[in-house]
């Protein structure tokens, strides 16, 4: 495996990884919002 390939794989892996973390946080927020709106209906 060339070092060039290694280098750019690392770059993309880390950036993609961070974006996935952001995505997961976003999904959790959306879940909580939905739950809040359900609670709001019940009141």
């Amino acid at each position: 495996m060339t070092y060039l390939l290694m280098g750019y794989s690392v770059i993309f892996a880390l950036i993609a990884g961070y974006m996935m973390i952001l995505g997961k946080r976003q999904k959790q927020i959306e879940k909580e919002i939905k739950q809040l709106e359900e609670w709001n209906q019940e009141i």
Partner: protein, 239 residues
């Protein structure tokens, strides 16, 4: 009570529309347009992202310092959030800078690590970032944590230039700098296409940084809104 899920505004859309093409153009510039370096060959192209990452790593830390000072002047949740997100992204890009730097080093000088001032400073920066994030994870009210972490952020920012000076001094005592051997000195200078590509890479990665910063901050702000809404609802239910 409708909570807006996506509070990203027109700025973010513009950023996104700049970012994606810039990224693609950047890749083209790096892999197709810029000339292949004669001594190192293809591997030299890691350099473009390496410099960009290192630049953003230090920029992000300056932003942390900036918001830390603001927080001490007047603690506001928004400033606290921005400092934290910038630190997270900073760790990301510092790690990237270190790893690409090591891969570059391995490719050019056959060693994974060299005690060179910029590498050492970046490594210490990494540790200061991590320490900063640990301070933020402390228990307590957000105002207290905001104050403590801001103080540490400021001390950290002051420290980084001194680290660089000290390590550079140290290096010249141990290994006198040989011109033409440095990281970005491919035998004396860079061809103009390489320079242009390098600047474009720095630009692209900076846009990426701003984009991630805003996105991350929006998510944290949403979290605060949700927390408040939750306590509101719980109070309503309780009464």
């Amino acid at each position: 009570m409708m909570i807006k899920i996506n509070n990203s505004g027109p700025i973010d859309r513009v950023l996104f529309y700049i970012l994606v093409p810039a990224f693609l153009i950047n890749l083209y510039l790096i892999f197709v347009w810029s000339p292949v370096e004669k001594v190192m060959g293809d591997v030299q192209k890691i350099f473009y992202f390496h410099v960009g990452s290192a630049w953003v790593a230090f920029l992000a830390f300056c932003v942390v310092g900036f918001y830390s000072v603001l927080t001490l002047i007047k603690p506001k949740m928004e400033r606290f959030i921005y400092a934290g997100i910038s630190a997270e992204i900073g760790v990301l890009f510092t790690t990237l800078a270190l790893l690409t730097g090591m891969i570059w080093g391995r490719a050019s000088w056959n060693t994974w690590w060299t005690w060179e001032p910029r590498l050492i400073t970046t490594l210490i920066l990494w540790f200061i970032y991590v320490a900063y994030l640990f301070v933020r994870k402390m228990e307590g009210s957000w105002e207290k944590i905001a104050k403590l972490s801001s103080v540490f952020g400021i001390i950290g920012v002051i420290n980084v230039p001194i680290v660089f000076m000290a390590t550079r001094w140290w290096n010249t005592k141990l290994h006198p700098v040989v011109f033409g051997e440095g990281k970005d000195q491919t035998g004396g200078g860079m061809e103009p296409e390489m320079l242009a590509t390098m600047f474009f890479s720095i630009f692209t990665i900076t846009v990426l940084y701003v984009f991630l910063l805003r996105k991350g901050a929006q998510i944290e702000k949403m979290r605060e809104v949700i927390k408040k809404a939750k306590t509101n609802i719980i109070n309503k239910i309780a009464s």
